[in-house]
Symmetry: C2
Subunit: 156 residues, 2 copies
């Protein structure tokens, strides 16, 4: 492997480790388990999502997802809605409390980053963004965030 590739990989690992440990701390700060935090974020992203989908997305089993959702529901962070078409199915979305939870959760690392980033020259910002987007593309991660659109299959 080329030395350049190495450099890039090292930087990426540093970034991902930094953010990972950030999210651990974040979970702790908001009295959530890491899974719960991730679940909330994921639900927020999808706006509404079924347990199974969420489970595969988070690589957890369906059973685990049941208990996870029950906890979040009990704490009034997510709302459970029945699918009108398929009666086996649920959809979970965030309650306002849940919204607030992840919004005002101190985005410590990202906050700090934002400040520093904002102080860069325009051209520097542009350069960094384009590099980041190249990376996202190379990771095939473009559609991870997708857009605030319902994460379900079309209705036929």
């Amino acid at each position: 492997m080329s030395q350049r590739t190495d450099e890039a990989l090292i930087a990426m690992r540093q970034i991902s480790r930094a953010t990972a440990s950030d999210s651990r701390a974040l979970a702790k700060a908001s009295a959530l388990s890491v899974s719960q935090l991730i679940a909330l974020q994921e639900i927020n992203r999808a706006r509404a999502i079924s347990p199974s989908k969420l489970a595969t997305k988070m690589s957890l089993s369906r059973g685990t997802m049941t208990t996870l959702m029950n906890k979040l529901e009990a704490r009034n962070l997510v709302r459970r809605e029945a699918d009108t078409i398929d009666k086996r199915r649920w959809y979970f979305s965030l309650t306002e409390t849940g919204q607030k939870m992840i919004e005002q959760a101190p985005r410590m690392l990202h906050e700090e980053f934002s400040e520093k980033f904002a102080q860069l020259q325009q051209w520097e910002q542009a350069q960094i963004i384009s590099a980041l987007e190249r990376i996202v593309a190379m990771l095939d991660a473009e559609d991870i965030d997708a857009a605030p659109i319902l994460d379900t299959q079309e209705i036929t």
Copy 2:
């Protein structure tokens, strides 16, 4: 917050989510828990590290670290060495088995990335690396990887 900052943040979250879910899958593939995997990586990085340090690094309690290390030791993935100076202290390092474990663990995502990255023009690579390094700096993550140097305080 500026729109540009937003773009950068979105890209970064995509990257970190992609790598996070990668590491979950990775752990599963190598029959390790996520914590165990991270611990191995962390030990590898530091070459040798004490349980407490590792615990704070991973934001786990010392008690948890004890059981975690016992498991890894039982599976012969890490080696426990006594500190000659401070007799309370242990140092953990990877055994050859442990080395192999994390080396040949399919670096799925990163592998794929490497391939694509290697195909870029030199100047593109350079640009991406410099952007990444700016980010690392802004995240104060420069010394996360530090270098393969013993991770202890100087001996006085």
